[in-house]
Assembly symmetry: C2
Homo-oligomer: 201 residues x 2
Amino acid sequence: MVRKTKEEAEVTRRHIIDAARQVFRDCGVRSSTLEKVAAAAGVTRGAVYWHFRNKTELFFAMREEATLPFVDRVVFDLNAADPLAGIEVALREIFVILEDHADVREIFEILSFKCEYVDEFKPMMGCSDGQMEFLQKLTEAYRQAGELGALRPGLSASDLAHDTFLFIGGLIKHWLAASPNQRFRSDALSLIHNHIMLRRI
Amino acid sequence: MVRKTKEEAEVTRRHIIDAARQVFRDCGVRSSTLEKVAAAAGVTRGAVYWHFRNKTELFFAMREEATLPFVDRVVFDLNAADPLAGIEVALREIFVILEDHADVREIFEILSFKCEYVDEFKPMMGCSDGQMEFLQKLTEAYRQAGELGALRPGLSASDLAHDTFLFIGGLIKHWLAASPNQRFRSDALSLIHNHIMLRRI
DNA sequence: GTTTATACATTCAAGAATGTATGTAAAGTA
DNA sequence: TACTTTACATACATTCTTGAATGTATAAAC
């Protein structure tokens, strides 16, 4: 066969990852075979085994790409005139990203519904570092809002952040499960708005 | 072999379901083999195939048992003096049940983390009838609370119910993922309390 | 320009896992 | 009591799936 250049090999690698995402979503991670992935990528299993040691390594390579857009785009503007609006914007941004990036959305769908968290995947059941960081930033944002007197009194920043964290987790799950223009999918932004409204003075 | 009576056969059937629950939780549904289930139940695959047509049917038989305790025990007292307290009690009850009934907890764990929602399992991704019913009862309870003037103004009963529904969904997930005496597991009741407090006048 | 490492494709061996078919002994039943 | 059905166990054939081994043509390195 025609041996590829480094650049072409990198393209092949990405094709395999993209194919894996599609196959994982259609078949579930465990039920996906490297044969199916290879076929979807237009290569043979040999190519897959060349780029990845096994399915697990391929899975984690695929997962890598899901977290990237969020760290840049889901940010809390601590200096905003209306800090709660800043939080609302950040929360909305999550779903804008999911709407925009089909690949990220598919990875989230796989992680939520197409993966059995056993053996080497078991540690991923709990909160990821990224999630904990999100919770922490959320807490800080609420603290700031509280200092600016924007919060209705009674609850601590940590309490509010945890409540929002769980709300968002639930919303992401139902948003992913719903088809487009179905209940939770189309109502996400107003649900977020209501959620924040509860916190206003 | 010694042929069993009808009653003994029913016991065998339950053993198989219990074994399936254990194996599903340890291995994931797709990775579980009927051989493992049979071994865990102390029978052969022949017995499993006698009682269930295949793994899917066994899975649904197992799942049947998860919903039962909730319909009886998670109830909203619409006539309570403090209707929000009534809602809080109902929400707490969910986690009391999960704490009490290891089998129910394990089934939830399987449904949340050990199952790939593809093919015949795909329809289960969305909200179950039970969940929709819960959301509906929750809405009704908030409406009642609103009519009694117990709610802080600004949001409709439906808005509040959806917010609570997503919160509870997120909490269940994190509660299940956490080991006992870990963050979300031990804080569940106070998280619920805070959540309800946000709604008070 | 020769050598070597790369980027795959192809082939092979071995082990699951499944569904079915068959065997069997006792429980029901007429 | 003779027959039938039940409740399994056992055996078998078939179908994936995997990992590794091997082949190979070419890009890259020297």
